[in-house]
């Protein structure tokens, strides 16, 4: 494909993991807006401060879908604090890079996870 995506990104986009929603999620985060062409929604299941499951729903381009999939995979099994420190650079590195004009999509994944954690913490109070 001549779209600037590497093979890993195409593979993840073709077979994304953790697609869907979690009923009774402990934290839900939604970022982006449809006008800009990207919305990402992340659901977290958290037990004993560990992220035991994460799922996503994304309206967006191939990069947005690939970063959603990879970001959820990267945080499962991590503590909430560890997950909160995940950056878009970590996700992009895991994917082996993204075209420059697609970097903003990876920021959405980071932000959606932080929103979901914020939601989780708010519910804890």
């Amino acid at each position: 494909m001549s779209n600037g995506y590497n093979e890993k990104v195409i593979e993840v986009f073709s077979n994304p993991k953790n697609v869907g929603k979690i009923d009774n999620a402990d934290g839900v985060g939604t970022v982006g807006n449809a006008t800009c062409g990207d919305i990402m929604k992340i659901y977290l299941k958290i037990k004993n401060n560990i992220i035991v499951d994460a799922k996503f729903q994304t309206f967006g381009c191939a990069a947005a879908i690939a970063t959603s999939s990879t970001a959820t995979e990267m945080i499962i099994g991590k503590t909430v604090d560890e997950a909160e420190r995940l950056t878009n650079a970590d996700v992009v590195e895991n994917l082996g890079g993204l075209p420059a004009q697609k970097m903003h999509c990876s920021v959405l994944a980071e932000e959606a996870i932080r929103e979901a954690i914020k939601d989780y913490r708010a519910k804890q109070k």
Binding site: M1, N3, Y5, I10, F13, S14, P16, V19, G20, K21, T30, G32, N33, A34, T35, C36, G37, D38, I39, M40, K41, Q57, T58, F59, G60, C61, A62, A63, A64, I65, P99, Q101, K102
Partner: protein, 395 residues
């Protein structure tokens, strides 16, 4: 199934006949068409024949045809050349909001040079609103540049009504970008009534890297590429003989086969549109149902973004194009769909399918099946598509 190409509005393959015609001009007949010797004379014969072929195809004289390096160059030349040549008369230009960037961005450039430009709106089907032209045109309007058919949604513009308005203003030039129209609909400069007309070889089974500009006899516009005596001193640069020979043969064939070609494309397109509308929920056909290029279909799929559809179709071996921002690398979705008033979320989910000579009914049916799967898959992934849970579409 083999790869399927549904992107003929982007480019077409060079036909076998055109390629065979071009081949000798790469090495055997390699002379510079402007040389005085026998090698040059051999080359200029091919160029002259091509000029006659183009002229015959669009209903003008050979000396009204100027070869360029692309349709984009011809548009640059027409817009800038006319604006510069007519600046003593006025500095007002009219174009439409749905033009190709090679017209739009030249108009924007001219604004920086002190020209005033009116960008005419279009209706919801992608037709320029002629009443708006009547309101905008004035004594100091020097150029109206409106495409013959739109590249994204295929709307064939009301060129006769447009010309009726323009010809009441003496000295106002009419430029038509006919790049998408050749071979699909009749293109005759007298019938259109234009002073300038752009075409591009690779849109009708000719080679890339060659276009042409029709300049009505008696009209003087400024040059864009200034050099020597090539193209009767109007366009510098050594003539690209193989490409010029190619565009000549391609346009002759395109016009000769037009009825058969457009019927073939329209059969495929209509089947595609019918099946998509009947079998995929929540789709919107962008563009008109009548006065539309026979090979163009453009759909928006609600709740999903165009790039995902495009790449999944590509992985299934089906080539289409997207008007969505993400795939083109810009952040703004299609200016054409936005001008038509299509909801911006639907703009992001738009895909153009453009059919051509090698396409078949079987390919159309296969693509519809794939498209159904892909749209379903991406909708299930979309946070906007959770209607039964009562979630808002506008997150």
């Amino acid at each position: 199934m083999d790869r399927i190409y549904f992107d003929h509005a982007a480019t077409t393959p060079v036909s076998r006949k055109v390629l065979d015609k071009m081949m000798p001009y790469f090495s055997d007949v390699f002379g510079n068409a402007h040389s005085q010797h026998g090698f040059g004379r051999q080359a200029i014969k091919g160029v002259d024949e091509a000029r006659s072929q183009v002229a015959k195809a669009i209903g003008c004289l050979p000396n009204e045809v100027y070869f360029t390096g692309s349709g984009t160059e011809a548009n640059n030349w027409a817009v800038k050349g006319a604006a510069l040549a007519k600046k003593a008369k006025g500095k007002h230009i009219i174009t439409s909001q749905i033009e190709h960037p090679s017209v739009l961005n030249n108009c924007k450039w001219l604004e920086k040079q002190g020209y005033e430009v009116t960008y005419l709106p279009v209706d919801s089907e992608g037709f320029v609103i002629v009443d708006e032209l009547k309101k905008a045109i004035r004594e100091d309007t020097i150029l109206v540049s409106i495409m013959l058919a739109n590249n994204e949604v295929g709307s064939i513009q009301p060129y006769k009504q447009i010309n009726e308005v323009i010809k009441q203003y003496k000295g106002c030039l009419y430029h038509v970008d006919a790049v998408q129209a050749i071979g699909a609909i009749k293109v005759d400069v007298k019938d259109i009534g234009c002073d300038l007309l752009t075409l591009s070889g690779h849109k009708f089974y000719g080679p890339k890297g060659v276009g042409a500009l029709y300049i009505r006899n008696g009209l003087k516009i400024e040059k864009l590429i200034i050099a020597g005596a090539q193209e009767r001193s109007m366009r510098g640069g050594t003539t690209n003989t193989p490409a010029v020979v190619g565009i000549g043969q391609a346009i002759e064939d395109a016009v000769a086969n037009m009825d058969e070609y457009s019927t073939h494309c329209q059969t495929l397109r209509d089947r595609f549109i019918n099946r998509v509308e009947n079998e995929i929920p929540m789709v919107k056909l962008n563009g008109p149902r009548a006065n539309r290029l026979p090979n163009n279909a453009n759909f928006s799929f609600d709740f999903i973004e165009g790039e995902g559809i495009l790449f999944r179709l590509d992985l299934a071996g089906i080539a289409v194009s997207s008007g969505s921002a993400c795939s083109s690398g810009s952040l703004e979705p299609s200016h054409v769909l936005q001008a038509m008033g299509v909801d911006i979320v639907l703009c992001h989910g738009s895909i153009r399918f453009s059919f051509g000579s090698a396409n078949t009914i079987e390919q159309v049916d296969y693509a519809v099946e794939k498209l159904k799967e892909i749209v379903k898959f991406l909708r299930e992934m979309s946070p906007l598509f959770n209607l039964n849970e009562g979630e808002s579409k506008n997150v």
